[in-house]
């Protein structure tokens, strides 16, 4: 199963995009403008990876962006950036991170 199929099968996920660290769009589902999502969060991931490298924090794994209404979870796997727009629905972001992280184990 691909990253996209694995993520999109989760009930909390409303939209998902697979791109890369240079912001290129590969595939997506449930997003009106998947290319914009891939570009924005590809840049977010590459910038934060750079910040982490400067701080000696090692490889970037997950970025969570939360607002009152929704959250975006960005999972970095090698050069791939998987962005999922999720309905938090009262759950903690940490638990959703674990669910999405586990869903990508062995995928790609």
């Amino acid at each position: 199963m691909s990253y996209l199929a694995a993520i999109a099968s989760l009930k909390e996920v409303r939209g998902a995009v697979v791109g890369d660290l240079s912001g290129r769009f590969h595939e997506g589902i449930g997003e009106e403008d998947g290319e914009a999502v891939a570009a924005a969060f590809g840049f977010v991931a590459s910038s934060l990876a750079q910040a982490g490298a400067q701080l000696g924090l090692g490889a970037l794994r997950i970025v969570s962006v939360a607002s009152e209404a929704q959250a975006h979870l960005v999972l970095v796997r090698g050069g791939s950036v998987v962005t999922a727009r999720v309905d938090v629905g009262g759950r903690s972001l940490a638990s959703l991170e674990k669910v999405l992280d586990a869903s990508l184990k062995g995928e790609g």
């Binding site: 924090l57 090692g58 794994r61």
Partner: protein
Amino acid sequence: VDSILHGLMELVGVRATMVLDPAGQIVAWRGHAAFDRSLCERVGGVVTKAIESVHLQDAGWETISAQFANGRILVRRVSPSDGPGHVLAVVADPSLNPSFATVALRVAASKVRTAAEGGAPPPAAGAQPGVFRTSAGGEAADPASAEFLARCVKELARHVGPISKVYVQEAVSRVSPGAPFSLAAARLLVEDLSGQIEDAADRAQFRKGVLEKR
């Protein structure tokens, strides 16, 4: 603000904490030795670029958490505004409890917002006689000095925004350490505050605005 950052530093796992302005410049900072101000300034610039990109996609964002193999970066918006605004950022090692840190960051951001927007606490019971609690959030020796501080906050805000109140409070603690501010230190205070304004013409306008109205 310094005491708020100090409080965050007491959380297990926190290695550095800072307040960044919308341009990615450090407004306040505390960190362990390996996370010195220079490093945090470089990182702040990079993180701010990420924030700008997030803002384009979700203008209502409140928090960003980046999990790395050996630690985390947590960012919280200080106040909702039209632009990305000021943010509070924490760098932590893997021993950080993220749920606990999220709550602590929310509380700290609220305190920074209060300090920046004018919510100074009411005078404490038993406050010294002859000391005036100012609308700028500090203490002044007399009403004229309190009025001068308020004018500094207002004039500086024209150039740096609502964080001006924090700048004035910090400058007062430098030019008048351990004592209520008085007009005798006015020029010293204005020179100190001028350092927060990058443009020379704006600096001159600020000096003129506060000193000529005395």
